[in-house]
């Protein structure tokens, strides 16, 4: 998509070229992801861009005061909060997905659907069968990337998408009116709509709220919540806990630690650095908090 890494094209059998870059060429090296500041260099996020565009356009029209107000309003959204000045005592949730071990059993998907009473096609964590340019296949689980600059948040007309101080993007289903524009803007296809009545759910330990949207609400958008309501009590997300291969890790960027469902505890920053972790579709400027560890010679679309 973006114009970087120009020299890493290859041709496939059909003669159609696609940009396929070696993992190390374009992606941010994993050493930079530990600690609190995950992004490297100054990024102008979508929000910042809009703010600047509005302010710039308005001042061009000699409406400086209005522009400032607009820019201030545009900037004053929870999404802007996370990267700058978050206190270190707050968890900064992340996830590591070790693709080397995934066997495509989809137990994570099933556990998630069971816990959240989802329809069979609401695969909040989906396991995609991917293909390398060499023709090999591998499996790639995809939950919500919990983007640091989530494109799904600013587009919602009724502010139903929220980004918490702990770095989770959540949907307020009591606010969502179902325009589905967030499904359009998410580059990871991580959002699922409730096209019909949700699966009936028994009484839940938590009230229906953004951090535990169970049961789902007809006519609203749902997606992986990183099991937000379970995290404070030290429980692992359902998918992490139920992965028999230990593929999925829950991580915390603030405390630099990650743990998977079979009891491995790793130091997050060095684990990512040592294994050349990548983020999915980095060039989209979403800055995901899900890190993939490749290992099959695959080319994750990290550019």
């Amino acid at each position: 998509m973006s114009g970087d890494a120009g020299s890493c094209d290859s041709k496939d059998a059909a003669g159609i070229s696609e940009r396929r870059c070696g993992v190390g060429e374009t992606v941010e090296q994993s050493g930079t992801v530990g600690g609190q500041s995950v992004s490297v260099g100054a990024r102008i996020g979508r929000r910042g861009f809009l703010g600047r565009a509005v302010a710039g356009g308005a001042s061009l029209l000699a409406l400086g005061a209005l522009g400032d107000r607009l820019a201030a309003t545009v900037g004053a959204n929870p999404a802007a909060a996370a990267t700058d000045g978050t206190p270190s005592t707050v968890h900064q949730w992340a996830m590591v997905i070790d693709l080397r071990n995934c066997n495509g059993c989809k137990l994570c998907t099933q556990a998630c659907q069971k816990a959240h009473f989802l329809h069979a096609d609401q695969t909040w964590i989906d396991v995609f069968q991917m293909e390398t340019s060499a023709g090999d296949t591998y499996f790639m689980p995809r939950p919500c990337m919990m983007c640091e600059d989530p494109p799904c948040v600013p587009v919602c007309p009724v502010s139903a998408n929220i980004r918490t101080a702990e770095g989770l993007t959540l949907v307020d289903q009591s606010r969502c009116v179902g325009t589905r524009i967030c499904m359009n803007s998410c580059p990871y296809q991580a959002r699922y709509f409730n096209w019909s009545d949700p699966e009936p759910a028994p009484r839940q330990p938590f009230p229906q709220e953004p951090s535990w949207p169970v049961p789902q609400v007809k006519g609203t958008v749902g997606k992986c919540i990183s099991c937000a309501a379970m995290l404070p009590s030290g429980q692992l997300p359902e998918c992490v806990a139920n992965c028999p291969m230990g593929v999925l890790y829950l991580g915390d960027l603030a405390f630099d630690v990650a743990v998977n469902g079979i009891g491995n505890v790793v130091k997050l920053s060095s684990f990512l650095a040592e294994n050349d972790a990548v983020k999915f579709k980095e060039s989209y400027g979403t800055n995901p908090r899900v890190f993939y560890i490749p290992g099959h010679g695959q080319d994750i679309d990290s550019d």
Binding site: M1, D12, A14, I16, S17, E18, R19, R46, R47, L50, L70, T73, V74, N77, D121, Q122, D126, F128, Q129, M130, E131, T132, S133, G135, M140, R142, P151, P154, V155, C156, P157, V158, S159, R175, C176, V177, G178, T179, R180, I181, M183, N184, S185, P187, Y188, Q189, Y192, F193, N194, W195, S196, D197, V217, K218, G219, T220, V221, K281, Y284, D301
Partner: protein
């Protein structure tokens, strides 16, 4: 439309059939006064289709959007295409009325009311598509609830843009109507049924302060001129912001810099097409042949194909550039549209909405009312299909599995939208609502802009006289049919007329503004009220 273009056609407006001012009044008011035999069957038939759409919507409300064929692999589809299409066709009003007004194309006069009414009717229908589009339509009001506003959302700005445009459209419909209201009320004076009384009351209410005196007229002209200027950027903003709702994504086929222009041109294209079809239907049904001529259609047809060619060009550049870029997602999308699973609708647009209308206008034999109307009808259908081609493929794109494997260019699992009867019924209902509402509107307003048509005659005379005085070298006689000649009134009846103040029979005759025409008016209407009486001996329409 160049000046020469617009002036050469004025003889087209001149017609032997139109021999009096009274004929203009009676023709314009005829749909208000008389109920044609087909009116009720037409209204009931169209109403039935609307009711069917409401039933479909009730089903969708109960079962969820899944009943309309939506799924996570196709999250946007027919309602979004409908939203764009129906708001788009309202642009015809803005173009024909505002642009032709601003370019002083005098031939527009008999068409403006029809064009403005079309915009007035289609815009709310288009806006209503937000309701079936929403997942939770019962909370549609939250979209307009300030505490929830998210100023960075394109949908919110859609709302701002469309509602401003709606306001402008309503005012733009009303202002040119004001001078007609006293005339209409006077013409309804001798009607005694309840509807005529109601309409008369309405006219009196909405046009009560209109005296037709010069200061009022200057004010009105200024306001209409200002609004005509404002309506154009407003219309442009509506479809631009609408396109941002699609473009604010990273999907191939949505995230396009061409989108705002693409959407605006498409809207103008289909809008002009709708004005043509509406004008043809109105001309036929309400006997406007004396005022709306082949030339009107041919000229509108030229405007149509100008937009059509521009749209074809934009489509070409879009697919060429994206296809050439050959990045996996763009290539897969272009492939799917041109030769993949969406090839039928795309090439249908290309033939029916791109090439055929151009061909119909290019060939002299088909450059007729039938040809232009046929082309426009094709455009209306093809542009709806084209909107589906714009909306659906990117919404069904696989974003995670994007590799070019043995599965071919389709790469990964594309989603599929399956039409069900629900969106078809709702779309048909909205389509039927356009003629239905137009029939209702023309039950209550004069179908021709009486005052505008009269003013243009007078203005033309004034301009010529003034120009002759101001520029000694100017020879109006060099331009056949130019300003000096009346538009549709024989010079005998208007030679003495000046700005007609006081249309109302009761209004005082104007003083310094020239020879009064009020008495003439009184004489004409009061003398033979049976002319307008549906039960009168001279007409047997009942």
């Amino acid at each position: 439309m160049t000046d020469a273009e617009s002036s050469t056609g004025d003889e087209g407006v001149l017609s032997a059939e139109v021999d009096s001012r009274r004929q203009l009044w009676t023709t314009a008011m005829k749909p208000v006064v008389e109920t044609p035999r087909w009116w009720w069957p037409a209204v009931l038939g169209l109403g039935a289709v609307v009711v069917l759409g409401l039933v479909a919507w009730a089903v969708q409300l109960a079962d969820g959007l899944g009943a309309a064929g939506y799924n996570d692999g196709a999250f946007w589809s027919v309602y979004e295409a409908d939203l764009v299409t129906f708001i788009g066709v309202s642009y015809g009003g803005a173009v024909v009325s505002a642009i032709l007004r601003l370019t002083k194309a005098r031939w527009r006069a008999p068409l403006t009311r029809i064009a403005e009414a079309t915009a007035l009717v289609t815009l709310p229908i288009g806006m209503l598509f937000i309701i079936p589009h929403l997942g939770s339509p019962t909370r549609v009001w939250e979209l307009v609830w300030p505490p929830y506003w998210n100023l960075s959302s394109p949908i919110l700005w859609d709302f701002f843009a469309v509602s401003t445009y709606l306001l402008a459209t309503v005012v733009f419909f009303y202002l040119p109507l004001v001078p007609d209201l006293p005339v209409g009320a006077a013409l309804l004076e001798h009607q005694h049924d309840r509807r005529a009384a109601f309409t008369r009351g309405l006219y009196r209410l909405l046009g009560s302060r209109w005296s037709g005196k010069a200061p009022q007229r200057r004010l009105l002209e200024g306001a209409i001129g200002l609004l005509a200027i404002m309506v154009i950027p407003l219309a442009v903003s509506v479809h631009s912001v609408l396109s941002f709702a699609f473009a604010s994504s990273s999907r191939a086929g949505y995230s396009e810099t061409i989108f705002p222009v693409y959407f605006v041109v498409a809207a103008l294209y289909s809008g002009v097409a709708l004005v043509i079809v509406t004008a043809a239907a109105a001309r036929r049904l309400f006997g406007l042949k004396a005022y709306i001529h082949t030339k009107h259609f041919v000229r509108l047809g030229f405007i149509l194909v100008a937009f059509g060619a521009a749209y074809l060009y934009l489509t070409f550049t879009e697919y060429l550039v994206d296809g050439y870029s050959n990045t996996s997602d763009l290539a897969a999308w272009v492939h799917q549209v041109l030769v993949g699973r969406y090839w039928i609708p795309f090439w249908f647009y290309f033939v029916a909405g791109g090439v055929l209308p151009l061909a119909l206008m290019a060939w002299r034999r088909t450059r007729s009312v039938t040809g232009v109307v046929a082309g426009s009808s094709l455009v209306l259908v093809a542009m709806w299909v084209k909107r589906l081609v714009i909306v659906v493929p990117p919404a069904t794109e696989p974003l995670v599995q994007r590799t070019l494997g043995p599965a071919g260019l389709s790469g990964g699992a594309w989603g599929t939208y399956h039409f069900t009867w629900v969106p078809i019924a709702i779309t048909l209902a909205a389509t039927a609502a356009i003629p239905l509402l137009l029939l209702v509107v023309f039950r209550f307003v004069p179908i021709l802009p009486i005052d505008e048509m009269e003013q243009l005659v007078l203005e033309a005379e004034d301009v010529t006289t003034a120009a002759r005085r101001a520029v000694p070298g100017l020879e109006p006689s060099n331009r056949p049919g130019a300003a000096g000649e009346p538009l549709f009134l024989p010079s005998t009846s208007t030679a003495t007329a000046s700005p007609p103040s006081g249309f109302l029979p009761a209004a005082p005759p104007p003083g310094a503004e020239g020879p009064p025409i009020g008495p003439l008016f009184n004489q004409m209407t009061v003398a033979d009220p049976s002319d307008l009486d549906p039960n009168g001996p001279s007409r047997g329409t009942r």
